[in-house]
Amino acid sequence: MMADQLPFEGLKVVDISWVVVGPTTVKYLADHGATVVRVEAAAPLDILRTVGPFKDGTPGPDRTQFFGEFNTSKLGLSVDMKVPAGLEIAKRLIAWADVYVESFTPGTVDGLGIGYETARQLNPSIIMASTCLMGQTGPAAPFSGYGFHAGSLAGFYEITGWPGQAPDGPWTAYTDAVSPRILSATIMAALDHRRRTGQGQYIDASQLEMSLNYLSPQIMDYETNGKTVTRNGNRSQYFAPQGAYLCAGDDQWCTISVETEDQWEALKVAMGNPAWANDERFGSMESRLENHDEIDEHIGGWTKDQIAQELMQSLISQGVPAGVVNRSSDLEKDPQLAHRNYFRPLEHQEMGTVPYAGHQFRIKGYDSGPRFAAPVLGQHNEYVLREILGMTDDEVTEAIIAEALQ
């Protein structure tokens, strides 16, 4: 495909966001062709540059794939917006851009002097998106933090783990996993509106509010039926058996899920029709839900010496939904992901060639993926200032003397 046929080729984006939600939202535009300037400070660093996974286990701000994963196909500019010359550069980028995304605590960009009112004066048709945990207004708007906090407030901790034990919570910051997909669709729709009407606008996207849509049925179940959902291991409230079962080897697990009577019959056949399975205590969905512990013991006894992958394939071929619990090292070998050309090795300035996550959707006939590796801090300072902003040598020198560049 020709470069000028990337979905967002020619689109200009200034990404003054940090941590996960803002950068991941913008990554969709960047990977699909937009020219994105990711504006960062050297102090404080984006927290993602300070935590791993680090290449070969050696820490360093340019060695972590936590930052890298969500900042592909972007140009890196390191600038101190707290000095006037740095702020001026940010303003010139806002004037240049079609889309401006920020993810600080509400009031921060206004305090810096690059809030929406300023942005709109600089660039009347700009689309500006602000995303933070709680939204720009309301009593908890100043609540700053991470997706751990929003995930806990939203109810996702309550529903992850084992009954009767403290909540385990989802892996890391769950609302960070939900919000980018929703916000990117919103920005793309705003872009389409602007293409047709010339009109830009301001978007206030609360990560809590976006994520609560993933709990809508349970919230309504509370509102209308008075039921409060809580964590329940891997069990369903509605069908059984369902669980993750230990297999042969070191901490290898296969999940099995029986949603229908047909699948229960198929599981019985797969297990070789053991006598216990025909006990009337397991004869209906209700009774299986009631006697789930006992069924789990039987199934666990049957799976414990089997190879997880082989067990999964055998169950699926016999009509029982199953899936092994994959780790990152397993995903590297997953044949389906290989078929989708999922992992994309890209050359990073400091880390060398490293794999980047691919896209969750494929567009037929278009080999989409991250186009180039994430920037090291300040990697494209010169390019952005000279080529994008058209700054002269003198202007660049002045910015350096003013300590605007980092």
Binding site: G52, H149, A189, A190, L212, V320, S328, H339, F361, I363
Partner: protein, 412 residues
């Protein structure tokens, strides 16, 4: 915002969220169901726990802003009506087993002949083709295959999923972004687009820094309960409080605010306040630089402090002083969270049994093109007559034949 566009939603319950988001953004959405109803209508929980076709809460939740029609795609008449709709549509979402529509002569290759500007989005467990394309799958098994389960749960028990189905919501939201991306490409090239959304890949994305852990650092992350694993150090983030749990990250800025609280309560001597450069505490800890108070001491003090207060006391004290102590809320706590009330977030919604409920609201506030809810989830075939008459000019006999015998009812 998307009001010029028409969306056909043929998803059976896996991916309703995709067209709902486009509908919230202004698109006209037609949900196309088989005469017996979409599988999503059987999805629990139900209104008053009664499993009837109009009482599925997930169906009600994720099908707002859609008109509902039935089509019998086993019949040529039904297929012809779908072809007619495709001609007028901009987007089509489906989530059947791969190749189900193809086998009916309604695959992308046929549909793009009818509408050369169509964006056709297929949502499936593992992708539209490839070695696992036909694998039987559901919420639990995809959460396992996608990887996040390997990171969730305590080490001495099995890995866990979230106890509420999430997989098809991730895939549905992703499909909205996928559709808008492909639409941008269609505008540029003038050609119809086929998009293949993998729910497994969507779940991989939820691993965040865990996605490529092994390739980068030479080892996987492993489940560690609620421990936050940051390089050399691990921090607990869930603490017992007087009436439940709170989540807090014992970072430098958090400690800078909390240490004076500890002193005030007499848990530590006043010398703690100046005894450490608190804002940089966690950075020095992570980088192996000197610290004056051990992480154990600090965590022990947090534990003792938090245990004395309720989650709301901690939330409010944190808000007052600028630190983040998040209650582990259940759905009941959430309903009482004043912030959402004051933002006008909740949508009051009339259930099909005429009772009022409320549901989570619109995903973003747009200054020029506000999102809105114009209708609630349709009854089965509710708009058969209305939609097919106005869009395709069909008469009652044609509608009855194509829809499996129902004219539906006119809604006001």
């Amino acid at each position: 915002m998307l009001s010029p566009y028409t969306v056909l939603d043929l998803t059976g319950g896996h991916g309703d969220l995709a067209s709902m988001l486009l509908g919230d953004m202004g698109a006209t959405v037609i949900k196309v169901e088989p005469p017996v109803g979409a599988a999503g209508r059987n999805e629990p929980p139900f209104i008053e726990d009664a499993p009837e076709s109009e009482s599925s809460l997930p169906f009600f939740a994720f099908n707002r802003n859609k008109q509902g029609i039935t089509l019998d795609l086993e019949l040529e008449a039904g297929r012809n009506v779908l072809r007619g709709l495709v001609e007028k549509a901009d987007f089509l979402f489906e989530s059947g087993q791969p190749a189900t529509l193809d086998s009916l002569g309604l695959g992308f290759d046929e549909l793009k002949e009818i509408n050369p500007r169509l964006v056709h989005v297929a949502i499936s467990a593992y992708g539209w083709d490839g070695p696992h394309a036909d694998y039987l799958a559901n919420d639990l098994t995809i959460a396992a295959m996608g990887g996040p389960m390997s990171l969730q749960g305590v080490p001495d028990r099995a890995p866990v999923r979230l106890s509420v189905p999430q997989v098809w919501l991730h895939a549905g939201a992703e499909a909205a972004t996928a559709a808008m991306t492909a639409h941008a490409l269609m505008v540029r090239t003038g050609e119809a687009q086929f998009v293949d959304v993998s729910a497994q890949a969507c779940m991989i994305a939820t691993m965040l820094q865990g996605i490529s852990a092994n390739a980068i650092q030479g080892r996987d992350y492993n489940r560690g309960g609620s421990l936050l694993q940051l390089g050399q150090a691990t921090f607990p983030v869930v603490f017992d409080c007087a009436d439940g749990y709170v989540v807090l990250i014992p970072s430098g800025p958090t400690l800078a605010v909390m240490v004076p609280w500890f002193v005030e309560d007499g848990l530590v001597p006043e010398s703690w306040i100046d005894g450490e450069e608190w804002p940089s505490y966690h950075m020095r800890l992570l980088q192996g630089q000197p610290i004056n108070y051990s992480l154990e001491e600090v965590l022990g003090t947090i534990t003792n402090y938090v245990a004395k207060y309720t989650k709301n006391e901690l939330l409010e004290r944190g808000l007052r002083d600028g630190v983040t102590l998040a209650p582990v809320n259940d759905v009941g706590d959430l309903a009482k969270f004043q912030h959402l009330e004051e933002r006008g977030y909740w949508l009051p919604a009339p259930l099909p049994n005429s009772k009022e409920t409320r549901m989570p609201g619109l995903v973003a506030r747009m200054s020029k093109t506000p999102m809105s809810v114009r209708r609630w989830a349709p009854a089965l075939g509710e708009h058969n007559q209305q939609a097919l008459q106005s869009m395709l000019g069909l008469d009652d006999a044609e509608i009855t034949q194509a829809t499996g015998g129902s004219l539906g009812r006119r809604s006001e």
